[in-house]
């Protein structure tokens, strides 16, 4: 016989009632687990963005192009170490619903700028630079479509048309890259800008955006100002910012995701908190006589308080841990099907830690009032003896 056993026995004396409370808590934490993971996925770009990387986009919108001539001019600015450029390609594989992310890049400079994040085998690097239709595919994307090195794949595109009128673009997979950190997105592919630019029917000589590394994050502001001043009053004015700020601005287009998530999670928690809190109060009130007996046996008020609080926390942990576990399983099961929308939904330890803290908080909040009532109970009155 231990305190834990006593708590467990008290908790499960009404199995149906306790099961329903556990299901309520399970639901709240399942919602929390899924939404918190989605929120982290949405904001993942900000978290992994390097401090010394700047992104230069068209001042009107990042969907508008920039001239490729800008690359050399930016490279010449003092403090800029490396510059690469990227074009959004998009496309789909076999079926329009199989949307995928493909980027046309300058191979050598792209691999330099993202060298700290992407793990690319050396032979793949060489092949990618050398082969005109070569493509490097991220590990997650390769796994998703079952692609391997040497495969010849055709990607269709509704935006970019080839000069011969075809919407199908052929690529030879020359390597699979991995992320050096787990949070690095590898659900995309890159291919040669030269191939893209020479083949496409329109937009020659235009790039989507530039990414550059500076000598030091301390120079970022100054370099960003210099770049934007350089192209001020031109046909293609620029807006330069840190990669993190750009990612944040991109996410902000969808609205305040964090606030929306917080409101949904908060609503679920408050509702379930009231249900569980009320049920726990009833449950403790039904045990008034037993609490009186415990007091008559010598259980001091503090122990009674801890006993009831312990039950509430145990209840929250049983429902909450299962809810988080279900959320993890759910994410694993749907991750592949939503990759186009959310490239990387993590099952991160910090979500679990926040979840555990919430369970403790949930247990304390729901258990505090019944525990205080039980603690203050006059033993004579509880036993119906006075």
């Amino acid at each position: 016989m231990t305190y834990l056993l006593l708590m467990r026995k008290n908790l499960f004396r009404h199995k149906l009632r306790t099961s329903l409370m556990i299901m309520s808590i399970f639901t709240a934490f399942a919602i929390f687990g899924v939404l918190a993971s989605i929120e982290r996925s949405v904001n993942a770009g900000q978290d992994i963005a390097a401090a010394d990387r700047l992104v230069v986009v068209n001042k009107i919108s990042f969907t508008q192009p920039l001239p490729i001539a800008y690359v050399d001019r930016v490279r010449a600015i003092q403090g800029v170490q490396q510059v690469t450029h990227v074009n959004w390609f998009g496309g789909y594989y076999q079926d329009p619903k199989n949307f995928l992310v493909a980027l046309a890049v300058d191979p050598a400079s792209y691999m330099q700028v993202y060298g700290n994040e992407l793990d690319i085998p050396s032979d793949a690097r060489q092949s990618f630079i050398r082969e005109r239709t070569g493509a490097l595919v991220g590990e997650v994307m390769a796994k998703r479509w079952g692609w391997k090195v040497g495969d010849h794949v055709t990607i269709a595109n509704n935006i970019y048309v080839q000069r011969n009128g075809s919407r199908s673009w052929d690529f030879d997979i020359v390597g699979i890259f991995k992320g050096k950190k787990p949070e690095v997105d590898t659900n995309y592919m890159i291919f040669q800008y030269d191939y893209f630019d020479a083949t496409r029917a329109f937009g020659q000589g235009q790039i989507g955006w530039m990414v550059l590394k500076t000598a030091s994050p301390a120079l970022n502001d100054q370099i960003a100002r210099t770049i934007d001043q350089t192209f001020a009053n031109s046909a293609y004015e620029t807006s330069t910012d840190t990669e993190k700020a750009l990612n944040k601005a991109f996410v902000a287009q969808f609205g305040n995701i964090r606030l929306i998530m917080l409101l949904v999670i908060g609503a679920a928690f408050v509702t379930i908190l009231m249900i569980v809190g009320n049920t726990l109060m009833m449950s403790v009130r039904e045990r008034t006589r037993e609490i009186g007996v415990l007091k008559s046996l010598g259980f001091p008020p503090g122990r009674i308080l801890r006993l009831i609080l312990g039950e509430a926390i145990l209840l929250a942990l049983i429902g909450g841990v299962q809810g988080l576990a279900w959320a993890a399983l759910f994410i694993v099961s749907v991750r592949d099907s939503v990759r186009g929308l959310l490239p990387q939904i993590p099952i991160s330890p910090d979500v679990a830690l926040v979840g555990l803290a919430l369970m403790l908080g949930f247990g304390i909040v729901t258990g505090l009032i019944p525990a205080l009532n039980a603690m203050r109970l006059r033993v004579g009155a509880a036993l119906g003896r006075s």
Binding site: M1, K9, V293, K295, P300, P301
Partner: protein
């Protein structure tokens, strides 16, 4: 364990309750001495103050004035937490309706008070087994209260009351819910705890047959002892 030769002593005890706006005086300057090893039956009509007397002796209630000494400790001055710890070490309660925890087995019910001690789990289990042996229910250690008769449940409650080896047992109508045969078994057990183990027992009862098992009977009426000493048969 209590050590004072007079196990319990009430001096000038006054106690009243307020019902509605009317104060009801239960005791007015009551004196009582219960020697160590005594077995006292307290009888009297409803509302005479029998249960209040037990509550005061067990520290479940506090007097308006006067002193309550139990085992050399003046308990009317103790705080709630101190009283609880003192009760755990010195008092065993036995109730009319057994008050066992329905979700715990007999052994676990008996172990309950030992959770407050520093004994290890195995030691607690052994103590509980011993207490159940004393009341003759060792073989029912893993049975739940619902699987036992009223008499057996009351014996488990007695085992729970004696497992911490208190010197004073306070029994509130311990046979009030039992048939004659079971009641006699329980009373014989209480008598043996008093005679063989030296437990001081104060038992509230309405049943004259139960009172005959005690060494003496106190009759309470309107908060006063109307006949203080009566030798048992």
């Amino acid at each position: 364990m209590l050590t004072d030769t007079a196990t319990a002593r009430l001096v000038g005890l006054s106690k009243c309750f307020v019902k509605g706006k009317e104060p009801i005086v239960v005791f007015d300057r009551l004196d009582l001495v219960i020697p160590q090893g005594d077995f006292v039956a307290v009888m009297g009509p409803s509302g005479s103050g029998k249960t209040t007397l037990l509550n005061l002796l067990g520290g479940l209630d506090a007097p308006e004035s006067g002193e309550v000494h139990v085992g050399g400790t003046r308990i009317d001055r103790l705080g709630e937490g101190q009283l609880a710890r003192w009760r755990g070490a010195n008092i065993g309660f036995i109730f009319q309706f057994y008050n066992l925890m329905p979700m715990l087995t007999a052994g676990q019910n008996v172990e309950l008070p030992l959770l407050l001690t520093k004994l290890r789990a195995k030691q607690r289990r052994r103590y509980a087994e011993t207490a159940l042996e004393v009341v003759g229910l060792a073989e029912r250690i893993n049975h739940y209260p619902r699987e036992m008769s009223g008499g057996q449940q009351q014996r488990v409650a007695i085992a729970r009351a004696i497992v911490t080896d208190p010197s004073l047992l306070l029994c509130d109508e311990p046979t009030g819910d039992l048939d004659r045969h079971s009641a006699d078994e329980i009373l014989r057990l209480l008598k043996s705890l008093n005679r063989d183990l030296g437990k001081t027992i104060v038992m509230v009862t309405h049943d004259p047959a139960a009172a005959r098992y005690a060494r003496r009977t106190l009759h309470l009426d309107k908060g006063r002892f109307i006949e203080k000493l009566e030798l048992a048969a």
